[in-house]
């Protein structure tokens, strides 16, 4: 259920969120059994609190304390997308709108308009109402683009604002924002923050729960702070003024475990280097930081460097740490590179403990929070004694305590003579660097819109299937040849309306035709004979008759449009078609993902070998890793879709608006 109970006159005084003893145990069934297996413990433990209509709350706590999980529970998407067991009670008396931390997994449509309309479409609102809401929401977040703007061309900050607009179009009474700024550079973050501030100022009755490690950014917006402890309990619930005052008065309270969660309020974090126990170089190493706005090419600079280095000498943490996961436990993933290179695992143990992951060793890495996964990737990058460490945004998603641990490891690496090269927009991290290189954005090249044929997908499909059936009527070589010749002339006449096809596309079908002719001739019923050859020729021409146009028309079968047409004209069920369209948008990224998977595996020491057997084995392993990454993304996609009403009964008869 998407909203549970709409407030009416008598109930307006009731809190819109009411939790009592709310507890959530994630299911640990799929964890491998290890000797040091930790006892299952709840991720959310006995939470009791209430939030009033129009109230704005900051939800904070250490990395991994269950902040995102609580937000998902309130959005009513947790139990449907993750395995686990609830106890206690949770009542939500408002329409909720959830914005996820990483907008890369959230988008469901190929165009800006389609993305923002997705929620209202699922509510089966009328088309004029949807169009009104969409243009209003896009204006609210100040996106200066036309509705048919491609979603995959938006920058990180723009796509975060698009997700905010997609949620605002649902006209939520409770906004749920999961670290909405953490993936963004200062300029983009300022724009997203302004969009959130503007929205909340315009809608005083809209409540909000904002998850963030940094309270100061939200001090003008929120009135109250909830703090979760590392073991998932609610340890503080107080006005923001008191929270900030406490932090200012006693910055050294950071040593008290529960207050350690108070993020980045202590004047300046002081990371401490420790002894890594080995030296990579005798000479003094340095930390070099690439800085600049998102999209300027910081990652490209790191990639250039990576391409030149041998595997054993380099450790790499990519911007998406999940790509480095190798193995189904934290311990196996942390030590994979060292083991592949035949090295000992003592450094891995030390780093895991330094970065606070010791009690998660037997967990599946995919169960870690975003901040924990990034720390695991840092351990994985260092545990094989590299000489150079390359880090892309290593401090994203860290609280004050884990920030100090991450920065401490970076300093320790420098002390050990390891060259550190990083890309970051974190000012505190930049302050630690010995050398700062500013990367300035290059003028963006606008990608040309794809060339489109003018044949509707259902027409193309109809022609293909019609020719397939019609091929049976071709009885002799003469009629079959004539039919194919007519098709050829029609194709020449229609060339302009066919989607641009390269001749290359026809090579496989021509080879297949030859092979069909040979098989039908050599294995002709009645033995090899003139009649057999003639029969084989008819069959090959029949295949040519239906298959050549099918190949020519393939370009007209753009899957997303085909799915829309099937629902629109043939009344196929809407939800499978929409899910298909959402998955197909991801096709745009699959080449990039493939490259990232291959690189991550190479850098983790999974070598390809020389023989064709070992090469194809590594190919299969990479394909499987790609599948794992994609399905993990699909889990987040499901959360984003569910949070926008795709699980509602109305979604079965949803509206479909074209943009």
């Amino acid at each position: 259920m998407f909203w549970v109970h709409l407030p009416n006159k008598t109930e307006t005084q009731k809190p819109i969120v009411e939790a009592s003893h709310l507890t959530w145990w994630p299911s640990l069934d799929d964890e491998p059994v290890l000797p040091n297996k930790t006892e299952p413990r709840p991720l959310l433990a006995q939470l009791s609190f209430a939030i009033a209509s129009g109230e704005r709350v900051l939800l904070t706590g250490p990395s991994g304390s269950g902040k995102s999980t609580l937000l998902r529970a309130i959005a009513n998407v947790l139990a449907q997308t993750e395995a686990g067991v609830f106890s206690g009670q949770l009542f939500v008396r408002a329409r909720t709108g959830l914005v996820l931390q990483d907008s890369a997994n959230s988008f469901v449509a190929a165009t800006l308009g389609g993305e923002v309309a997705f929620g209202p479409e699922n509510l089966a609102l009328a088309e004029p109402e949807i169009r009104k809401r969409v243009s209003q929401a896009v204006a609210d977040v100040a996106l200066p683009y036309a509705m048919h703007r491609s979603t995959v061309e938006l920058s990180g900050g723009e796509s975060q604002r698009m997700q905010l607009a997609a949620v605002l179009a649902l006209e939520p009474q409770l906004l749920l924002l999961d670290e909405p700024l953490s993936m963004l550079d200062a300029a983009a973050a300022a724009k997203v923050l302004a969009a959130i501030e503007g929205t909340l100022a315009a809608e005083p009755t809209t409540a909000a729960i904002i998850v963030d490690h940094d309270a100061s950014a939200w001090s003008q917006i929120v009135s109250r702070v909830l703090v979760l402890s590392a073991d998932g309990r609610l340890v503080r619930d107080e006005p923001i003024s008191q929270f900030l005052a406490d932090a200012r008065l006693a910055p050294d309270l950071a040593s008290v475990p529960e207050l350690a969660s108070v993020p980045k309020l202590t004047s300046s974090p002081k990371p401490v280097a420790f002894d890594l126990g080995y030296r990579a170089h005798k000479r003094q190493a340095t930390i070099k930081a690439f800085i600049g706005p998102s999209g300027a090419g910081k990652t490209t600079e790191l990639q250039k460097l990576l391409a030149t280095l041998p595997v054993a000498q380099v450790g790499f943490v990519p911007q998406q740490p999940e790509f480095t996961v190798a193995g189904n436990t934290v311990w196996r993933s942390a030590t994979a590179t060292a083991k592949n290179l035949g090295l000992e695992t003592t450094l891995a143990s030390a780093l895991l403990s330094q970065l606070g992951l010791t009690d998660k060793l037997s967990l599946n890495p995919y169960r870690l929070s975003g901040g924990e996964l990034r720390r695991l990737a840092l351990v994985s990058a260092l545990a094989h004694y590299p000489r150079i460490l390359i880090l892309d945004e290593p401090t994203v998603g860290q609280d004050a305590e884990t920030w100090q641990a991450v920065a401490g490891v970076i300093l320790a690496a420098r002390e050990a003579g390891i060259e550190v090269v990083l890309a970051t927009h974190d000012a505190a991290l930049i302050a630690l660097a010995d050398e700062v290189v500013e990367v300035s954005p290059k003028p963006q090249t606008q990608t040309a819109p794809p060339k489109r044929g003018r044949i509707a997908p259902l027409v193309a499909l109809g022609i293909s299937f019609g020719l397939l059936a019609g091929s049976l009527s071709l009885g002799s070589v003469a009629t079959a040849l004539t039919a194919v010749a007519i098709e050829f002339l029609v194709a020449l006449a229609c060339w302009r309306i066919l989607p641009a096809q390269r001749i290359k596309r026809f090579v496989p079908i021509l080879i297949a035709l030859a092979s069909i002719w040979v098989s039908n001739s050599l294995f002709a019923a009645g033995g090899i004979s003139t009649a057999g050859f003639e029969r084989a020729t008819v069959i090959a021409l029949r295949v040519a008759f239906f298959a050549l146009p099918s190949v020519a028309l393939a370009g007209a079968l753009r899957p997303a449009e085909l799915a829309a047409a099937l629902v629109r004209w043939l009344h196929m069920p809407a939800r499978p078609a929409v899910a298909a369209a959402a998955a197909l948008v991801r096709l745009e990224f699959i080449g990039w993902q493939w490259a990232a998977v291959r690189q991550a595996r190479r850098l983790r020491g999974f070598s390809e070998g020389r023989g064709s057997v070992s090469r194809s084995r590594e190919f299969m392993a990479s394909l499987f890793a790609l599948l794992v990454q994609s399905l993990r993304g699909a889990g987040e996609l499901a959360v984003a879709m569910q949070a926008r009403g795709f699980g509602e009964p109305t979604a079965k008869r949803r509206t479909w608006v074209r943009f």
Binding site: M1, V4, H5, S20, H21, T23, D29, D30, Q80, E82, A83, V85, F86, S87, Q89, L90, F91, R93, A460, S464, F465, P508, I509, I511, A512, N520, S521, F523, A524, A525, G532, R535, V538, I539, V543, A547, S550, V551, A554, L557, R558, P559, P576, A579, A580, A582, A583, L584, R586, L627, V628, L631, R632, G633, A634, G635, L637, A638, M641, F646
Partner: protein, 204 residues
């Protein structure tokens, strides 16, 4: 794990462990994304392996049927993960449309093949009432997809002139491949995905 309070009248406790019976959002999302990735896998097989393997089997052309299972993998894997009627058909159709869009040998007619193969897998699962998803059912479903593809489509479209012996040998090769590559292979992939921890929201 009992509730400590009585729920206010007319309200639903969101912290419930009730199972949803129909298709969940995550079922759609996982089936569709799985199909897109496997569709790309099928396309790379078409592009890089299909022709060399064809040359390998040039002397005994019906052996080319041993490749059949590659194209039924999405139906089996989709069905074994989602375990709901329609999952095999949905995954197979999406994978085929990815293959067609990227450009394959047969163009739009691949969607016809996909329809037959997906439907055959659904039929086998219907026989076990969508209750058994073990390696045997998977292998049977893969073989059934081969029967549908060869008898309902290829026998008249491609092999109408050949001897019965050729057709039977070809069908047998396709069935073996459907059972081994799609059936057992699909079962193994799903098991490995479960071990990797990305199928937490699905039944075992």
């Amino acid at each position: 794990m009992t509730n400590h309070q009585i729920a206010p009248q007319g309200e639903t406790n969101l912290a419930t462990n009730a199972k949803q019976s129909g298709w969940r959002v995550i079922d759609f999302a996982i089936a569709a994304v799985l199909a897109v990735v496997l569709g790309v896998g099928m396309w790379s097989y078409d592009t890089f392996a299909y022709a060399p393997v064809g040359v390998l089997f040039a002397a005994v052309p019906w052996l080319a049927g041993l490749q059949f299972g590659v194209w039924t993998l999405p139906a089996i894997a989709g069905a074994l993960i989602v375990r709901r009627p329609g999952a095999a058909l949905l995954a197979e159709l999406i994978a085929a449309s990815v293959e067609v869009t990227l450009g394959n040998t047969w163009g739009a007619t691949s969607l016809y093949s996909a329809l037959l193969q997906g439907a055959a897998v659904e039929l086998v699962l219907l026989v076990v009432l969508y209750r058994r998803f073990n390696i045997l059912v998977a292998a049977l479903a893969g073989a059934a997809a081969a029967v549908a593809e060869v008898l309902i489509y290829e026998s008249w479209a491609y092999w109408a002139g050949t001897t019965t012996e050729f057709l039977v040998s070809y069908l047998a090769a396709c069935m073996v491949s459907g059972a081994v590559i799609a059936g057992i292979g699909g079962w193994a992939i799903v098991r490995a995905l479960r071990a990797a921890g990305v199928l937490g929201a699905f039944a075992k």
